[in-house]
Amino acid sequence: MSKRIHPVANLLAGIARGISGVQVQWAGCEPDERQRVYFANHTSHLDFVVLWSALPSDIRAVTRPIAAKDYWDETPLRRYLAEKVFHAVLLERGSLAKAKNPDEAHFVGRHLIEDMAAALGDRNSLILFPEGTRGTGEKIAPFRSGLYHLALRRPDVELVPAYLENLNRILPKGEFLPVPMLSLLTFGKPIQVAPGEAKDAFLERAREAVSGLRRIGPA
């Protein structure tokens, strides 16, 4: 993958920053070029672009979003934005659920994790929304297990929690016109899977790491 940022990506990042008036706070770590997985709550189409635009440009160039293939592969415009502009890693959402038996599920799951690990390569970072879909902003939904398996597969990569506040009011699910309110983005302290930690315990801890970064409180 080239290290060049697509001009449309920079343009969209600028627009998203303007609309969201986002104030960024690095509360638990500093911007760093080391490989990371940024994971955040998900309430708006703006989430990824705002988070991505908050990173310094050299880090931005190697940071790719994980996105749902069923949505972003649907129309030519979405495909163009996802593949050409943001170099998104498109994953088949719900392919695990469609599996007919545990063996197939295991196989499909392995495949998804391998895709993410391959996308990380030896210098890229990823942006992941582990809820799997956009919520209303009141509560963070339980995390899908991908984050856990990816963390085990690539223990060298830092897992950075981030909380995006108020974006659900700027561009909620189902709307296409934004209201330019102000928003907050807080990066927290990196977490990792503790030795022998169970999947559900880790995912719940990861979810709390995100929700603990809330600054204003429920909208």
């Binding site: 108020n166 009011r169 209201v179 102000l182």
Partner: protein
């Protein structure tokens, strides 16, 4: 463009503001150097941050006035936009208000300024209090969410009134055709802003110097009777002394600047009450040392429309 520079009285007004800022900067620096680290330090740092913010605001304002009528209109439209953004961010709204809010930001507010631009006074005066008043609750009702319906409609309408309607009366001064004052309307706008903002500053200064007796300590613990009286009287004196830049006699100028000061105080008090209600100290963090845009403009929100109508009633035939 730049015709403002050909108006010597306007240049004098700006010169006065700049000298005042220069003197304040010098005093701020002296205070900082004399102060031992410790107790009063934060107050002085805050004062210096305020003075620095004033330099920036003054530069922006001067540029807008130099560009002319359109410049002032665009500047105030931007101020309205930023103020409304701070307000709507902090006032609780629900998902069902989304489209109403979109209209408020991108149609109602710009239309208000456009109406000033095309000098359509009649429509400018009723668009928000009448049309928006009908539009806001209707569009929320159409969205279908009735929870806290009245509160939401009222809060949004209040925000549009304060941030768009009231503030727009400041640049609307440029609409007024006062006999014998043609082409000098920029001075009237500057007069309003100087008296209004100096009243804020002087109330703050007097309050810090000799303030003891709180006016409404529940609402705003920093407002004292000493600060209020000292600030209003000294800002009124300043406004009176600026009569030469306005179409007013010294006595009229005294009455009008007194009115601006009192209304400015009311605006600040009401906004403080709203902030208490929401549970925050400042509306935003856009201007360093000043809280947010709305914290700076709260006094102008109440002073501008009344000043506009007083001038229009008594001085425009």
């Amino acid at each position: 463009m730049l015709e403002a520079l050909r108006d010597p009285k306007l240049v004098w007004l700006f010169g006065g503001v700049l000298s005042l800022l220069a003197i304040s900067s010098v005093i701020g620096n002296i205070l900082r150097n004399r102060q031992k680290p410790g107790a009063g330090r934060t107050t002085i740092d805050n004062l210096n941050a305020r003075i620095r913010a004033w330099w920036k605001m003054c530069a922006i304002f001067a540029t807008a006035i130099l560009v002319g009528r359109v410049g002032s209109l665009i500047l105030f439209a931007i101020i309205s936009f930023l103020a409304m953004r701070e307000y709507m961010t902090l006032v609780p709204t629900r998902r069902g208000d989304h489209r109403t809010l979109f209209w408020s930001f991108f149609v109602i507010m710009p239309l208000q300024y456009y109406l000033i631009g095309i000098q359509w006074y009649g429509f400018f005066a009723i668009m928000i209090p009448v049309l928006a008043f009908v539009f806001v609750p209707t569009s929320i009702a159409i969205a279908g969410d009735t929870e806290h319906f009245l509160e939401r409609a009222a809060k949004i309408q209040f925000g549009i009134m304060v941030c768009a309607y009231c503030l727009s009366h400041a640049p609307a001064l440029l609409l007024l055709k006062i006999p014998g004052f043609e082409g000098h309307d920029a001075r009237l706008l500057l007069y309003l802003v100087i008296v209004d903002q100096m009243s804020d500053v002087l109330q703050y200064v007097w309050g810090k110097l000799i303030g003891k007796h709180k006016i409404a300590w529940r609402v705003s613990p920093n407002k004292t009777w000493e600060g209020f009286l000292g600030g209003v009287l000294s800002a009124t004196a300043l406004g009176t002394a600026l009569w030469w830049a306005t179409p007013f006699t010294p006595l009229q100028s005294a009455g009008l600047s007194f009115t601006i000061c009192i209304l400015g105080f009311c605006g600040g008090l009401v906004m403080s009450a709203i902030k208490r209600d929401i549970g925050i100290k400042d509306f935003g963090v856009v201007i360093e040392g000043h809280g947010g845009i709305l914290d700076r403009m709260d006094s102008l929100c109440f002073a501008a429309p009344i000043f506009f109508h007083l001038v229009r009633y008594y001085f425009v035939p």
